[in-house]
C-alpha cells in the first residue's frame, strides 16, 4: 500500500531530517487491512533512526504529537484503529511552543 508519511515540528530530526517519505507498507501476514497501530510499529522499525522515545510512548505516539490522516486529526477517525487506504497521507507533527 502506497502511503505518504510526513514529519514536522522537529520530528523529522528523528528520521535523518527528511520530512516527506513515500513508502510502501503492507498489512501483516494474515491481515487484509492496515491500521494506524500497524503503521506506527512499521514507522518505528523502519524510519525512526534515533531517540524513539521522542516519537512513541507505549504503542501510541508520545504526548504533544498530533497525528493527521488526510488532513484530519486521527481522534476523529478512531486513533490507533484508523484503517488506512491506498495513497493516504499521514502527518506526524510535534506541537510547537516557541514564539
Amino acid at each position: 500500500m502506497q502511503l505518504t508519511l510526513e514529519f514536522g515540528g522537529g520530528l523529522e530530526l528523528l528520521c535523518d531530517s527528511v520530512k516527506i517519505h513515500k513508502v510502501n507498507v503492507n498489512p501483516q501476514d494474515g491481515e487484509d487491512k492496515l491500521n494506524m497501530k500497524d503503521l506506527l510499529a512499521w514507522v518505528r522499525t523502519n524510519l525512526i533512526k534515533e531517540r524513539p522515545e521522542m516519537f512513541m510512548k507505549g504503542d501510541s505516539v508520545r504526548p504533544g504529537v498530533l497525528v493527521l490522516v488526510n488532513d484530519c486529526d486521527w481522534e476523529l477517525s478512531g486513533q490507533l484503529d484508523t484503517t488506512l487506504e491506498e495513497k493516504d497521507v499521514v502527518v506526524f507533527i510535534s506541537t510547537l511552543h516557541g514564539g
Binding site: G8, G9, G10, K19, E53, M54, R62, P63, G64, V65, L66, L68, D71, C72, D73, E75, L76, V91, I93, S94, T95, L96, H97, G98, G99
Partner: protein, 286 residues
C-alpha cells in the same frame, strides 16, 4: 455617540475608510472592533505584528502582558521594538509603538509575568486572549484560565522554520488540554531563544493571530476553531487541518470537569510541564 448613528466620528470614518468600504466588513464590524478588548500575552516575535495590526485596525482596548526587556538579539524578529528601547520594558516599548500608529485607542500595560496569582484578574478584563508566549507552562496556564473565564483564545507558535495556529475554547470547540492532555517531555519543548527561529516565521503566524482575533471580535467570517494551520516556511507549504472538538474527558473543559478558579490558582504549571515559565536564554558562541 458622535451623532452619526453608527458611533463613528468623522476622523474615525476617514482613518478606517478602507475597512468601512468593504461590504463584508463595513460599519457594523468596525463598530464591534472599536468596542472590543483584546489581550496579547507576550510582546515578542508573535506579539509584535499582532499588536501593530490590532492597534492599526481599531481594536478599542488593547492589553499587553510581558515582563521582559528588549534585547538586541530580539530585534531580528520583534519588529515592534526599536534599537532605542534596548534595555527597556517590552510592554512600554510595544505600547509606545501602538500609540504612535493609533493614538485613538486605549492601550493597557501589564508589566509583569503572567502567573496563576494574577492571570484571572488580568484576563477577566478582556474579550479575547492571544497567546503569543514561548513556553509550554504558559500555554497550559493561559488556556486553563481562558476556560475558567470563558474567553476565546487565539494560540500561535513558531520555531525554526515552522509555525502553528488555532483558536481554542471558542463556540464549543476544544481547549489546549483537549488536544494535549499530557505535557510533552521537556526535551521536546524548544524555545526560539534556544533553538533559533527565522524572524519572519513568527511574523506570519502573529499576523494570522491578529486576523483570527479581528474575526472573532467583529463577528465576521469563520474563525480557525476545530482547525489548525500548519506552516512550513522552507517548502512554502501550508496545511489547514481538521482537529478534534471538545473532549468530554478533558480535565478542564470536559463534561464532568470541575476546574474552578481556585484550583487554577493552586495549580503548579511549572511542575506539571517540568519546565519554567520564564528562563534565561543560552548564550551563543560562534
Amino acid at each position: 455617540d458622535s451623532g452619526f448613528g453608527h458611533g463613528l466620528s468623522p476622523d474615525m470614518i476617514y482613518r478606517y475608510s478602507r475597512q468601512l468600504l468593504l461590504p463584508s466588513f463595513g460599519v457594523q464590524a468596525q463598530s464591534s472592533l472599536l468596542k472590543a478588548s483584546i489581550l496579547v500575552v507576550g510582546a515578542g516575535g508573535l506579539g509584535s505584528p499582532a499588536l501593530l495590526y490590532l492597534a492599526a485596525c481599531g481594536v478599542g482596548r488593547l492589553g499587553i502582558v510581558d515582563h521582559d526587556v528588549v534585547e538586541l538579539n530580539n530585534l531580528h524578529r520583534q519588529i515592534i521594538h526599536t534599537e532605542a528601547y534596548i534595555g527597556q520594558s517590552k510592554v512600554e516599548s510595544a505600547a509606545a509603538a501602538c500609540h504612535s500608529i493609533n493614538s485613538t485607542i486605549q492601550i493597557v500595560e501589564h508589566k509583569e509575568a503572567l502567573r496563576t496569582s494574577n492571570a484571572l484578574e488580568i484576563l477577566s478584563k478582556y474579550d479575547i486572549v492571544i497567546d503569543a508566549t514561548d513556553n509550554a507552562p504558559s500555554r497550559y496556564l493561559i488556556s486553563d484560565c481562558c476556560v475558567v473565564l470563558g474567553k476565546p483564545l487565539v494560540s500561535g507558535a513558531a520555531i525554526g522554520l515552522e509555525g502553528q495556529l488555532t483558536v481554542y475554547n471558542y463556540n464549543g470547540g476544544p481547549c489546549y488540554r483537549c488536544l494535549f492532555p499530557t505535557p510533552p517531555p521537556t526535551t521536546a519543548c524548544q524555545r526560539c531563544s534556544d533553538s533559533g527561529v527565522l524572524g519572519i516565521v513568527p511574523g506570519i503566524i502573529g499576523c494570522h493571530q491578529a486576523l483570527e482575533a479581528i474575526k472573532i471580535a467583529s463577528d465576521v467570517g469563520e474563525p480557525l476553531s476545530r482547525r489548525m494551520l500548519l506552516f512550513d516556511a522552507l517548502t512554502a507549504r501550508i496545511r489547514i487541518v481538521k482537529i478534534r472538538g471538545r473532549s468530554s474527558q478533558c480535565e478542564v473543559c470536559g463534561e464532568n470537569a470541575t476546574f474552578t478558579a481556585k484550583q487554577f490558582q493552586e495549580f503548579d504549571y511549572e511542575k506539571f510541564t517540568q519546565s519554567p515559565l520564564s528562563m534565561t536564554p543560552l548564550k551563543l558562541d560562534l
